[in-house]
């Protein structure tokens, strides 16, 4: 981290400095992701088993409850698609903070990962790492999310391409062709995950795995939110503000944090 990312905040005195952690784009992506995830889960569960009663009203002119749910599910899927592409670009080429530097398994990162983990399970009694930058533990945790999201995209698009059985689509034949090319591997992979006694994979396995993966993502989110709040409370560096205002505070020179020269 270079010093340009560190801003002194006079009101806080010299013991804490403000560090910028997330750009506006990154925060925007974050909250778009949050909203999309909520919509994907709500509509996905409806698609799995329509859970609200729709016979309450008589047949009406614009009653497309399932159609709207599927539409919503696909729209957020496309949003996920786009943000996933942007995020993977930022992952390598961001001028701000290069995440991939944090997941390379070199000695420094392994030690940091381990220290952050110890900090978590020893209930913040031990803290021997610099918490001013994105640490290896969170970096890996976020990678796990992005892998799961990619997995949802691949399995979801595999389910989707089967509605294009004719091999054509409103935007041309290349679209289903491409989707088959990139997502057909999820069939044998899902069958392997679920277990099968028959020859040949089937799309139902993909669907089961798509649904199961949703639960794993929900657990991921649960821990993610808890962990960010936990850090905020116990580290006392305002971590949660990262995702709102883009910056947090750093306790200079204590708790394993580095020292910063006075301006």
């Amino acid at each position: 981290m270079n010093n340009t990312d560190v801003e002194y905040d006079d009101k806080l005195g010299s013991k804490r400095v403000r560090v910028r952690r997330m750009t506006f784009t990154m925060r925007l992506i974050h909250w778009v992701n949050v909203v999309s995830m909520i919509v994907a889960i709500a509509t996905g569960l409806y698609i799995a088993e329509p859970y609200y009663q729709t016979l309450i009203a008589d047949d009406a002119v614009d009653k497309y409850v399932m159609a709207w749910n599927r539409w919503g599910h696909f729209i957020v899927a496309i949003i996920f698609d786009v943000t996933a592409i942007i995020v993977s670009y930022l992952f390598f080429f961001s001028r701000f903070e290069k995440h991939y530097l944090k997941i390379i398994p070199n000695k420094k990162n392994i030690i940091e990962f381990w220290e952050v983990f110890l900090n978590l399970i020893l209930l913040n009694r031990r803290k021997k790492f610099d918490s001013s930058h994105n640490d290896s533990f969170n970096a890996i945790y976020f990678i796990v999310f992005h892998i799961m999201l990619a997995w949802m995209l691949f399995t979801g698009l595999q389910l989707y391409v089967h509605a294009l059985a004719s091999g054509d689509s409103s935007i041309g034949a290349w679209w289903p062709w491409m989707l088959h090319l990139v997502t057909d591997w999820t069939i044998p992979f899902s069958s392997w995950l679920v277990g099968t006694t028959a020859t040949g994979g089937n799309i139902m396995d993909v669907r089961i795995v798509h649904h199961m993966s949703m639960w794993i993502i929900i657990v991921w989110v649960l821990f993610h939110i808890y962990y960010q709040i936990w850090r905020t409370i116990f580290w006392q560096e305002g971590d949660i503000a990262i995702v709102v205002g883009g910056s947090k505070f750093m306790k200079v020179g204590s708790d394993g944090n580095k020292k910063v020269e006075d301006k």
Partner: protein, 410 residues
Amino acid sequence: MADRIEGVKKLFTSKSARVETNMGDAHYEKLFQSCQARIEELKTQTPRENRLDIDSFLDDQGVNRRDFMKWASAVTGMLMLPSSFTPLVADAALLMNRAPVIWLELSDCAGNTEAILRSDGPKIDEILLDIISLEFNETIMAASGHQAEKQLEDAIHTFKGKYLLFVEGAIPMGLDGQYGTIGAHAETFYDHLMRISKDAAAVVAVGSCATFGGVPAASPNPTQAVGVMDVLKGKPLINIPACPANPANMVGVIIHYILTGQVPELDSLLRPKFAFGYRIHDNCERRAHFDAGEFVEEWGDHGAKHNHCLYKVGCKGPMTFNNCSIIRYNEGVNWPIGVGRGCIGCSEPDFWDKYAHERPISSVNIKAPTGGVEKTVDEFGLGLLTAASIGIGIHAVASVIAGKTENKEY
């Protein structure tokens, strides 16, 4: 290994369920020429036992020429050929007794044989299947025992390299195949299949058991049953799954074979695309109710009486490829969803375990990847979530306590 590489290659290059409905004029022009030549040649050959004149046989069954031509044009459409092919298809149908067929039964319920024999007002498809040159079929032939074996030997010998081998039923591989044996010499189903397929022109696996293992292969698959495509290599193989396989699709395959001398275009599961390139859900008359969110909630309710969508009582149409929503069964009279029960995905691998439930798949108990307990995906997920919440709760409480006792100074 080479097999595997081939498999992976196929996986990434297959067009899955994609259906090519128009191959261009030049293609059809050429195809027409070659088919015509083939038909002319077949016409000059006499069937081995020129048992009957199909034309008059159909007449006897109450099918007049007009009905027959209507049927021929429907089959032409089903095979995705331009209407100019109709006369050729009609000719090919009349030449069906030139295609010698040997029909094997392995681990099965004879349901597919039943399907082609349906006697109550048979449709042209079934009549034609009656008069194909069925050289050997244990269920319906008069001979038995050594006589039957002799007949089989004869057929293999006489039509070496020319006969179509229809296989019905799965192949049990457990106990060295001893779960299923046939004949006086107790030949295992596996050996039986291998021996008889050796000289076949092509092998057609009919029904879900012969194609993907079907019911015999359902979990826990005690006999380790598998489909034909698992054990048979190096032979042209066509899968016609479904339970039972639709006679129309069997006729389609035979006519296609007579007409072109080739197997029809297949999808990645070796199913002919003309039959399995359609998703049930996309051609279902209840689809409007699906999109509207109007479902049968339980049998006999308001929704059931008003033909609402059967998704919530377990219809698996969205995940199933078959043409029964278009051509239907029993003289095209009706089909499962038409009579008010959901699709059980009978034409898909693993259908017994993963499709044939009267609930949506997410509320069906399936085996956990680790085996053992069966749970629905939602129970699995909620269990995971509960475990995570408990962990987080413990961690939170412990953190608060630790934070108090430590009383750090900032």
